[in-house]
């Protein structure tokens, strides 16, 4: 990673950045950090593009409202930015489109309103005709006279005035209430009739259809009319006061209105057609335009990070460029300048800086997932060892130890295979579902985990809780047939008699164990867990210690790369000694016990071994080792009688001496780890101080009358008490400014973390055993409690039906619980094992990521925020 300075001419800057954005080469540094975003150079341009984006969003919503599908351009790799002239044209096009669409919307609204009025008028005319034809006026007069006769109190009627009527339109749902209120308000002197309009009419404001009715009210005085008017206002009923009184006039008006309605209809359909055409044309290009606008906007944002030199009219940019890409960046700059037609060549200088560069780990689609796993914990410090390549294999391997089942492994493998083989198709569809994207993003991990789980399933000999017997089992029946028969006959019903197959006769020692994996006899044994647990625990411990040792060795790589010898001698070597003296010694003990100790009595390491009850207990042995406990050598006295607690005694000659030495070495390495490096750094500092002191001169500055102290070669500086001279000692960056107390604390934390970590992490690796036990037991439960019940049913037909139904439950639970839930659980634990137990041995993770400027990235981010 190199820190570079770019100098480009002002005119060529845009096309240079446009070239650079096509590939993820450069990370620009913000040179205008203290400048307000509203005061930056290209604020105007960015605002312009924001305006264009707003127009596009508006057009998109209009297009969607009309039900037109917007063509998605998908993920094409072309990031060519269009020229300024074309962008200007785009701006005018968008402005025109927006104006047109707004216009059309407005006129549409007006048309609809007029249409509604015309329809209502038509309905009113029709219904009024209907009313009158039915002889409504006579009926009205009659009824009102009747009312007057019944209630001679208030004379509402004035004989001189003729019978008047009002017609209007009201929403159907309000009709009943309207009538009631009218009746009460006019003291039963109004005669109301209503009729429904069959066709629902469209409300132009909301666009929804409303059902209305026509009403007619008869009244015989002005006072009543005013009352009726007020009630109509209250109910938002629209009155039509111009309704002609005679039938002929009504007919003529109806004809006229019908004509106008027909005309209106044609105009409306025409405007709809026009609008649709415009929107369709726009929809085809919307995505392209949006992409270009985003590309241009991002270029201007980037240019805002540069400093502008007003004198020479050029831009200065500072950026981080990976070493391998320097040539590519130079070429891109040249291409950019060429395209612009400029003559001044762009300059790319490599600068020196003390800032820590960003960390850049190149990944492809396969490795990016594993790099992501490592980065989630912390981005690697610049140039330190990257654990991701090893994680590619160790992660699925540890997962498989916990998940080991051939059947479930096959399911996971097939799922991963499907996702990987249909990669392109699934990517094209751009599915937005988050959970699917999580699984799809991890398709390579799922594939690898599936493959390793299949292998682990073969080794554990576990297929949906059953075992295969591919090679012959190494255990045979050791019992006499007649004895077996008699035992079988005499054993009570329901209470099966159990027998142990003693290893010295049943196990074929000369043939050896089952060739690949666990012997299938253990699957049918009652005490299967005793044997399996012991195996899995030892497996977990050995695998864990191996991974931790690997981590410590990786830290050696770090020390060698950063050329810090002090770290190798005072940190790495004591660490390895501590680890090997205690834990690798434990692993060696486990392996020796496997090889040399069996059930048959014999001579082991020159001592008489009475049998398996004397096989050494490694756990208690480890504790005794630390406590320097006195143990008897050997298992038996000289005459052959057994020693008490023979499994706690020494089992190879010289054991107590060797163990004492190992413990002492391990304990001695702790203070070396604790004090080694701080002592060295202190010595370096003292040496540096002395070196400075030898070269120091004192002189008096005549002008300022002050004493100045300086080194021989360096400049002179004013004397200050407590000045810390900058030494050249200490190879590590950053240690010069730490006080000694800080270094001591730092080192002691590191030491304690390592020492305690060794013990606790070894125990932590036992989760490999715990989860695999849980998985195997769950699997067994599903067999014994679910599937076996279906297979135990006698009779073909009921058996088949039962199997069909029960298999459904078995399959659902297997997939949901065992594959998905256990898979996620094992994934999480493997993640923890990697992050804490493995990486704490060597990984610092204090870096920051290299985020290059690239259009692909910009567009992806924009696309994500679009869909959210």
């Amino acid at each position: 990673m190199r820190f570079c300075q770019m100098i480009v001419e002002r005119d060529a800057a845009f096309s240079c950045i446009a070239e650079l954005g096509k590939h993820p080469y450069v990370q620009f540094k913000d040179l205008n950090e203290e400048v307000n975003p509203f005061q930056r150079m290209f604020v105007r341009e960015i605002r312009r593009f924001d305006e264009m984006e707003r127009k596009i969003r508006f057009l998109e919503s209009q297009v969607r409202k009309d039900g037109i599908d917007i063509v998605d351009i998908g993920l094409d790799e072309n990031f060519e930015a269009i020229s300024h002239a074309e962008i200007n044209q785009l701006e005018t096009t968008l402005a025109d489109l927006e104006r047109d669409v707004l216009h059309m919307n407005e006129s549409d609204y007006q048309l609809k309103k007029n249409f509604l009025e015309l329809k209502e008028w038509e309905a009113v005319l029709e219904k009024t005709d209907m009313f009158f034809q039915g002889g409504i006026d006579d009926a009205a007069i009659q009824e009102i006279e009747q009312q007057n006769l019944d209630e001679p109190g208030i004379i509402m009627r004035n004989d001189k005035e003729p019978m008047g009527f009002s017609v209007g339109v009201i929403k159907r749902e309000k009709v009943i209430a309207f009538e009631r209120i009218l009746w009460r308000a006019c003291r039963r002197n109004a005669f109301v009739r209503h009729s429904e309009i069959e066709e629902p009419l469209e409300n132009p404001d909301t666009g929804e259809k409303v059902e209305k009715s026509v009403f007619i009210v008869f009244h015989n005085s002005e006072r009543l009319k005013t009352i009726i008017d007020k009630v109509c206002e209250g109910f938002k009923a629209k009155q039509f006061p111009n309704c002609p009184k005679t039938s002929k006039e009504r007919h003529a008006a109806a004809l006229q209105v019908r004509g106008r309605i027909a005309e209106h209809r044609t105009v409306m359909t025409q405007t709809q057609e026009h609008r649709r055409k415009v929107l369709l044309a726009a929809a085809a290009n919307l995505r392209h335009w949006h992409k270009q606008i985003r590309i241009h906007k991002s270029i201007y944002h980037t240019m805002n990070l540069f400093t502008f030199d007003g004198i020479g009219k050029f831009f200065v940019a500072e950026c981080w460029v990976p070493l391998d890409d320097l040539e590519n960046v130079r070429n891109s700059l040249e291409t950019g300048v060429e395209k612009n037609g400029g003559t001044v060549r762009p300059v790319l200088n490599v600068l020196h800086t003390d800032e820590t560069p960003p960390t850049y780990n190149r990944t492809n689609k396969f490795t990016s997932v594993f790099q992501g796993i490592v980065d989630s914990y912390g981005i690697a410090s610049y140039l330190e060892v990257n654990p991701a390549p090893y994680t590619i294999i160790t992660f699925p391997f540890l997962f498989s130890i916990m998940f080991g089942d051939l059947g479930h492994g096959i399911l996971m493998f097939l799922a991963g295979l499907y996702l990987v083989l249909r990669e392109k198709n699934l990517e094209q569809r751009q599915i937005r579902d988050e959970i699917f994207n999580m699984f799809f993003g991890g398709r390579y991990i799922i594939l690898l985990m599936g493959i390793f789980s299949m292998h682990a399933g073969i080794i554990y000999n576990d297929v949906f809780a059953k075992s295969f017997n591919v090679f012959e089992s190494s255990w045979k029946n050791p019992y006499n047939y007649t004895s077996l028969e008699s035992w079988h006959n005499t054993s009570e019903l329901g209470k099966e008699m159990m027998l142990e197959l003693p290893p010295n006769v049943a196990y074929q020692h000369d043939i050896g164990p089952y060739s690949y994996g666990m012997d299938p006899i253990w699957n049918i044994a009652e005490n299967k867990l005793n044997f399996l647990n012991s195996m899995k625990m030892k497996l977990s411990v050995i695998v864990g210690i191996t991974q931790m040792t690997f981590g410590v060795i990786l830290s050696l790589q770090n020390h060698r790369f950063f050329k810090s010898k002090i770290d190798i001698y005072t940190v790495f070597i004591p660490q390895v000694l501590f680890l090997s003296c205690i834990f690798i010694y434990l692993c060696i003990q486990i392996i020796f016990k496997w090889i040399f100790f069996w059930v048959l009595p014999g001579d082991i390491f020159g001592r008489y071994y009475p049998g398996s009850h004397c096989a050494p207990s490694l756990l208690i042995g480890l504790i005794n080792m630390f406590m320097f406990k006195d143990r008897d050598p050997g298992f038996a006295h000289a005459d052959g009688s057994e020693l008490p607690n023979c499994y706690l005694n020494q089992w190879y000659p010289g054991q107590s001496k060797i163990e004492a030495i190992l413990v002492i070495i391990a304990v001695l390495s702790i203070p070396v780890m604790l004090f080694g490096k701080p002592a060295y750094i202190m010595m370096q500092r003292r040496k540096a101080k002395r070196a400075v002191a030898d070269n120091m001169n004192v002189r008096i500055n005549m002008q300022t009358e002050q004493t100045e102290i300086g080194n021989g070669s360096n400049g002179f500086s004013k004397v200050e008490i407590d000045e810390k001279p900058h030494g050249s000692g200490g190879g590590h960056g950053g240690h010069d400014d730490e006080s000694f107390g800080d270094i001591m604390v730092h080192q002691s934390i590191h030491t304690i973390e390592y020492v305690l970590g060794c013990v606790s992490h070894t125990a932590s690796y036992l989760r490999l055993w715990a989860l695999s036990l849980a998985h195997a037991q769950l699997s067994e439960v599903l067999w014994h409690m679910v599937l076996v019940n279906a297979l135990n049913i006698s009779g073909t037909v009921p058996g088949v039906i039962a199997l069909y139904v029960i298999f459904f439950f078995f399959a659902t639970m297997t997939f949901a619980i065992l594959v998905l839930m256990e898979g996620l659980s094992a994934f999480l634990h493997t993640l923890r094992l990697h992050w804490v137990e493995f990486q704490s041995k060597f990984y610092l993770g204090l870096g920051y990521a290299f985020v290059p400027f690239s259009f692909k990235h910009v567009l992806e981010l924009a696309r994500e925020s679009d869909s959210s």
């Binding site: 492809n364 490795t367 390549p389 590619i392 294999i393 160790t394 391997f397 292998h455 682990a456 190494s474 255990w475 045979k476 029946n477 050791p478 019992y479 006499n480 047939y481 007649t482 004895s483 077996l484 035992w487 079988h488 099966e496 008699m497 159990m498 027998l499 142990e500 197959l501 003693p502 290893p503 196990y507 074929q508 000369d510 050896g512 164990p513 089952y514 060739s515 690949y516 994996g517 012997d519 006899i521 253990w522 049918i524 044994a525 009652e526 005490n527 044997f531 012991s534 195996m535 030892k538 497996l539 050995i542 695998v543 496997w594 090889i595 040399f596 069996w598 059930v599 398996s612 096989a615």
Partner: protein, 87 residues
Amino acid sequence: MSVWIPLVAVTAFWLLVGAGGPLLVPSGPNRGIIQTMIVLTAVCCHMFWIIVYLHQLNPLIGPQIPVKTILWIHERWGDAKGELVSK
């Protein structure tokens, strides 16, 4: 003697994969990582296998099996060599 056969065979297989595999990787930008993957796979899988194998080499306990199943073993898998126990 036949204890060694699977030991040698499987070890030789993983040795072949772990040492010979990296030589077969075509050159390209991903050569290093594929080689790392092959070697790690060989080491991990072989370690897994040999731990399980060694654990079963000298078993200190035997399986406890119901008598009915032992009768089945007698029929299908056969008897052990030498004299049979008749407690």
